[in-house]
Symmetry: none
Amino acid sequence: MKPKYQELFEDIKSKILTGDYEAGERIPTESALQDIYKVSRHTVRKAILELANEGYLRSEKGSGTYVSDQYQAKSRENANNKIIGVITTYISDYIFPSIIRGVEGKLNEENYSLLLASTNNDAAQEKKALEMMLSFGVNGLIVEPTKSNLYNPNLSYYLSFKAQGIPFVMINAHYEELEVPFFCLDDVQSSYLATKELISKGHTQIGLISKTDDLQGKYRMKGYIKALGEYRLQFQPEHVLSFNTETKGDLHANLETFLAENKEALTALVCYNDEVGLEVVTVCRKLGISIPDELSIIGQDNSYIAKTANIKLSTLTHPQEQMGREAADWIIKKLKNHKDLPNETYYQPVLIPGETIKKLE
Amino acid sequence: MKPKYQELFEDIKSKILTGDYEAGERIPTESALQDIYKVSRHTVRKAILELANEGYLRSEKGSGTYVSDQYQAKSRENANNKIIGVITTYISDYIFPSIIRGVEGKLNEENYSLLLASTNNDAAQEKKALEMMLSFGVNGLIVEPTKSNLYNPNLSYYLSFKAQGIPFVMINAHYEELEVPFFCLDDVQSSYLATKELISKGHTQIGLISKTDDLQGKYRMKGYIKALGEYRLQFQPEHVLSFNTETKGDLHANLETFLAENKEALTALVCYNDEVGLEVVTVCRKLGISIPDELSIIGQDNSYIAKTANIKLSTLTHPQEQMGREAADWIIKKLKNHKDLPNETYYQPVLIPGETIKKLE
DNA sequence: TTGTATTTTTTGTACGTACATATGTCAATA
DNA sequence: TATTGACATATGTACGTACAAAAAATACAA
């Protein structure tokens, strides 16, 4: 559990970085902060002293405590540094190298530099990354949202970027609370096509592995349900296995249980993505379930891991590099004051056949 | 009249600077200092905290308060943000994703975040990246040098990190002007083994494609010359094609000329790296030179592009992910005050046979 | 209206108490 | 002899009281 003074420290720091407390502004007195935060003066002073030590605040006896000038000034100082910040969930894994390649390629063409930070799908790490970008002063920002299906405590940072006129876009998903341009695969369509492909191969008992904390998971479930509905197949909750970022470590074990229990019930499985698809392959090998003879599966995203595995996974495309490139293009155009840039860009998925779907008679 | 805590501050500081309290030594407990100086614990703690803020002391809960080593003096700023900066030439291309994967993996294990910037082998971009890292205040830094075979105008930034006690290491090469820990492939050995492999297959007319602005290029040429020398083969400058970062865009055209002129002279070619190797493959196809029948080639680095090309390139290993991992491990250990960490780490290359070398009779 | 004195407000120094948490030491046990 | 558990020690967090010192606000006199 975080110490109280640390909570104050972070809250006040956050208010400074988002502009709630502006440079030169006098923050509430120690006495007022005691009342606001319901802590002793000792605790208030400890937080203030640490903020002062880090240069955010300066205190003047008999007068009050003021926001130092340095952070906002630093933003202005770097106004023309031609650096674009990119915040993604991961850097080296899955489809992210391809996305980043797209971004980097476009930025290089325009002589912009890239500053890259990862969040590991954790809001606290997203906050840290945003503070870095905000305090240093990047020209633009490309962000993949963190746990996009859940409330995000960092929305004010995005509003601060907006207030400062720093263009930003989101990729893969977006915070639906914000009016923000975004570039996304049509996740509904991806999962719809995945499910439809299984149905067209004769499958009627189709399960789903779904992720709950990202919007992709939500919309991919929507596509699954849509396809079931179109073909008058019943949605059965017990055929759905859900996981999130925190329970991902248990997915292997949970898949064992799920697949063992549904061995007779399911002939096919729509997987949240290729990574999950390959995890299912691994678990099936362990359980003696033959793919695709006993269970057909389809992933999504057309990641390199779908292509390089022992068995070539059937999957749906994800725009990856193209999306990264176009997001970077958007930012650069915005910085050049282009008008009429798109507010939302959806990419339509295409089926990539593999070796993991069996046609039933 | 001086405040009491100021008296303590100065007295203890004096004892440190005169050597009464030596580096690493445990000073009297807070309780003992209360008795010695006849003040409250609050006053003792205030003095100790300020000495700690200035880097003279560090306190450890349950243990005591110790005199810091001097180079830790300025680490207080952002001491707890657990962010490691990584500056590489590229992010998405060639062997860099693997290196970054190694770094990221290790940092994640230790709950550190990664802030990543690329230089495109340009000193101005390196400067920008260094300024970002320095001004924000990362806990440590992993850097691939920029144009490591040429004078670097940014050396003072590295000295500044050193002065601030921020640990940093270099990978792939290092600035020979600095005393800096580094992690490198043994480039001499890599090119030596490449050349020797061609010689062992009967080749005596061996060319070299070399890069001039990076230390890797210099040492890879050294290995080539070493192998030629061992086998009493003459080094012929006209068999060497050199390029650098700025002329890389012309490499294709220059290779056409070089290979056309040396069509009868050379039976084999040592390439600076796999990327260059595959460029040679492309040019040979264009010139109607059959590989390996008419020209044997060998790359270096064992990058993914060597494995996924139409023809499987013969190459030498590069530690890539392992190196990234160990560089990150070094930084983390340094931050934990480990002693006796290595100053230089070389990785020995291993030949990876491919399809691009023909044995001559 | 302006200048000066006084009072109030706000931060700075310093005393105290209490409990939490991490480390170090020592004795008991396997 | 090595390991584990209990206990002591030492720092960390957080509450409180009191007074000092500097700045700001207010009151009063010229």
